[in-house]
């Protein structure tokens, strides 16, 4: 059984494994990490894998660590994800992503009339909370519009 799983997603020697990504969000995670346009190491991912809490996606990136901005972005679209840092095939550190309470310059406001979508010298600002259903809710600190769906499409 273990062998079969390894065939699906090959173990990496050094790098990062992002697990428990909400099913269907793996490609958005790759986009956040700019993997598609800017990556030298091996990247593998599984979508819709069975997990203890239902279907999930997994992303493995060889030779790559994640910075805070990337972690914040991932938390917005996959708030239950875990990040595993791998050294010599061993999990050196495992941690859950932490949803920030505030993000700046990360998401575009959904309101076309919001001042943050104009030519003013400002970055978008949002407060971030978990919804009662476990999703992520962003509230624009300028116009107060709320974004709770398709956040990946609004990422800067």
């Amino acid at each position: 059984m273990t062998e079969k799983r390894n065939l699906k997603v090959q173990a990496i020697e050094n790098g990062t494994v992002i697990d428990h990504i909400k099913a269907g969000q793996a490609l958005n995670v790759l986009r956040i990490l700019r993997i598609i346009t800017d990556c030298r190491g091996t990247v593998s991912f599984v979508m819709n894998a069975p997990g203890a809490k239902g279907r999930k996606d997994v992303v493995k990136v060889e030779g790559r660590a994640l910075n805070v901005e990337e972690l914040n972005k991932i938390s917005l679209i996959a708030p239950n994800a875990t990040v595993n840092i791998i050294r010599d095939f061993v999990v050196l550190q495992k941690k859950k992503v932490v949803l920030p309470s505030y993000v700046e310059g990360v998401v575009r406001c959904i309101n076309p009339n919001c001042i943050s979508n104009s030519r003013e010298p400002i970055k978008s600002k949002f407060s971030v909370v978990r919804s009662e259903e476990g999703g992520v809710v962003l509230r624009c600190l300028y116009c107060e519009h709320v974004i709770s769906e398709n956040i990946a499409e609004r990422l800067v």
């Binding site: 309101n111 009339n113 919001c114 001042i115 943050s116 104009s118 030519r119 003013e120 010298p121 400002i122 624009c140 600190l141 300028y142 116009c143 107060e144 519009h145």
Partner: protein, 298 residues
């Protein structure tokens, strides 16, 4: 408006009440003596602009104006942030009205003087809400008020802010509108979460005998793609003298103005009509906000 607690709102209204004799010209005040207030109005406004001008002058302050946007640096491509930084160097306080949502909040990040939001975009017009609250307090009462709001409840920013503010005082609210202009579901949901009694109807007859304040709003023709549909809705939501025959004697009717034809002229002469006095209350309310923002009154 959501930034204000009930205590802070009460403090503004108490201050407005103290300043009302000055607003009526019965007393003189020099609270803003030597102060310059900049009125930056990037879109047309009559009542808000003139009541801020009146409020400033009643308090002995001076006004500088942006004038017509077409003749200003905005037409040369200057952004709002730079305009605010420059005007901050001239004036002691800026009143801003701007068509984009969140512009006042952004302006406050770039200003070195206080900013008062005179209405930004389609969502916020907090000084209107303060004057509505002041009117209700002066003409009726705020605590546990039985109020109906009628007209365009879907897009009307004044009613959205007013709902939130009145919820702090435990009001009972009835929303009177055609189905296409109903109060947004999330606002109704938020109110119910706060245990506010909410009722929705499409006719005045259901509510007129049971309320203390009726807050009317204008139904805008541009909300209706079909002109015939607009005509039907407009006439259904018209407040007439006949309808008021069943009203409680102390019912007060408010309207942020301008009205078109949603209140029949015969209503103006009844003791229920308080919308012109409401327009006046904009002066003491804005005097209070100017004086508090300038720190010339505690």
């Amino acid at each position: 408006m959501k930034d204000f607690s009930r205590e802070e709102i009460d403090h503004v209204l108490d201050t407005a009440e103290k300043l009302e004799p000055v607003a009526r010209g019965m007393e003189k005040s020099r609270l803003l003596d030597g102060k310059i207030i900049a009125l930056l109005f990037f879109e047309p406004s009559t009542r808000t602009r003139l009541s801020f001008e009146t409020a400033t002058q009643r308090l002995g302050g001076q006004i500088i104006n942006l004038g017509a946007v077409e003749a200003s640096s905005v037409m040369k491509g200057e952004n709002l942030a730079d305009t605010i930084r420059v005007i901050s160097k001239y004036a002691d306080l800026i009143v801003l009205r701007h068509p984009q949502d969140g512009s006042a909040r952004m302006a406050s990040e770039f200003a070195s003087v206080p900013i008062i939001n005179g209405g930004d975009g389609s969502i916020h017009h907090p000084t209107q809400t303060f004057l509505d609250l002041y009117t209700i307090r002066r003409e009726s009462h705020l605590e546990g008020l039985k109020i109906a709001m009628a007209g365009d409840l879907k897009y009307g920013r004044t009613v959205h802010s007013l709902c939130h503010a009145l919820s702090l005082y435990g009001a009972e609210m009835t929303f009177v509108s055609p189905p296409e202009l109903q109060m947004p579901a999330e606002i109704v949901r938020d109110l119910k979460k706060q245990n506010i009694k909410v009722r929705e109807t499409d006719s005045f007859e259901d509510v007129i005998g049971d309320i203390e304040v009726l807050y009317m709003t204008r139904v805008q023709q541009e909300r209706f793609p079909d002109p015939e549909e607009y005509e039907k809705v407009k006439n259904r939501l018209k407040l007439t003298g006949e309808l008021l025959e069943n009203a409680a004697p102390d019912l007060k009717i408010l309207h942020p103005l301008p009205r078109v034809n949603e209140i029949a002229p015969e209503v103006d002469d009844t003791p229920h009509a308080r919308y012109f006095e409401q327009a006046f209350y904009g002066v003491p309310t804005r005097m209070a906000l100017l004086a508090l923002a300038m720190g010339v009154i505690e």
